[in-house]
Symmetry: C2
Subunit: 179 residues, 2 copies
DNA sequence: AATTACATGTAAGCGGTTACATGATTGT
DNA sequence: ACAATCATGTAACCGCTTACATGTAATT
């Protein structure tokens, strides 16, 4: 369902687009919160067309199909946002490694934590770069809260990444003291 | 792979157990970082037996099979912890809803954020209750860092949940000002 | 005797990944 | 001519969920 909603969201915010365009949008804007490749997007768009949530508005060169969101699609997206509780089953690889970490001896655990910290630092730098760029981008159609599309998620992402980084640093310090 | 590692971790920490026991352990201890039902666990244990990572140590009443981790299993777990980068594809439902939120008008967006906040508050209370209980639990076998098994993940989870809660509160305040 | 908890498995189906396959257009 | 990019799709496979299916032991 989430893939569907992400696609409807992109079509609402940026207007009609092809499967190819949408796949690019996933790589660029949505990548940090949701991922999908073209092999997943094309069949999904076909299903969504059958369900009346989108329509093939036009067909361009090279068999390019331009999809547009329908009123039903818009309603579906709004309904999902308003009433769907994000009960995504907890499945967090970083947290799982953290969970199992005490099974290693202190030296090894420290090495793992250092790796985790480096990884988190890279991710934070990426998000903060995106944050800087964002202020130059145009406000897309469809944004009614006055907040730029995607900015709330970026803020959340940066905060969470900073939290993970702080945890890694504190844990390295705590285990380091014992080792 | 992660399910495999979670199972090996539980067998290392708590000693030999049946598929049934492991399913219970998932519900209790690992639930916040990884989820798995018995229908996933039983076939996985069979595959792990075939791969020599665990052995059926004993068979009890009601066809109960007790699995024990083998040296190969232990090596596999350690290798994974030490060298596997947790590149779990970003797929976060809360963040996706945050991403799409500006498509709603301010009143609706506020309602969604309130729901998100309530959900996060419940989760935080749960984790903090677990934190309180933890101090009474025994230190299991296999913990070599001196940190109790699962405590690092719990700390991380509490921090992240607090961060999400703060984000929800701040965003409610920010949008509320505009509405 | 009936219910609950223990205990194990299988099957259908969905969401997602990787790889395969094809062809048109544009730029060098 | 060749390469890169545009553009769409399919197939095999894996991980996971939900539901089906079966039977045993302990409790009330």
């Amino acid at each position: 369902m989430s893939l569907r909603m992400a696609l409807l969201g992109l079509l609402t915010a940026y207007g009609p687009a092809s499967g190819y365009d949408l796949a690019k949008s996933f790589e660029r804007s949505v990548a940090h919160v949701w991922q999908a490749g073209h092999s997943q997007i094309y069949p999904e768009l076909a299903k969504m067309t059958a369900d009346g949530l989108v329509t093939v508005e036009a067909e361009g060169a090279r068999g390019r199909k331009i999809y547009a969101i329908t009123p039903e699609g818009g309603a579906e997206l709004r309904a999902w946002l308003i009433s769907h509780d994000p009960t995504g089953p907890a499945r967090n690889e970083v947290a799982l490694q953290a969970f199992l970490l005490p099974l290693l001896d202190p030296g090894e655990a420290l090495a793992v934590l250092e790796r985790l910290r480096a990884y988190t630092e890279r991710k934070l730098a990426e998000l903060e770069a995106l944050h800087a760029v964002k202020h130059a981008s145009p406000v897309p159609e469809g944004a009614t809260t006055g907040v730029r599309f995607g900015n709330l998620a970026l803020d959340l992402g940066i905060r969470q990444t900073r939290t993970t980084l702080a945890w890694a640093n504190d844990t390295i310090a705590a285990i380091g003291r014992r080792a």
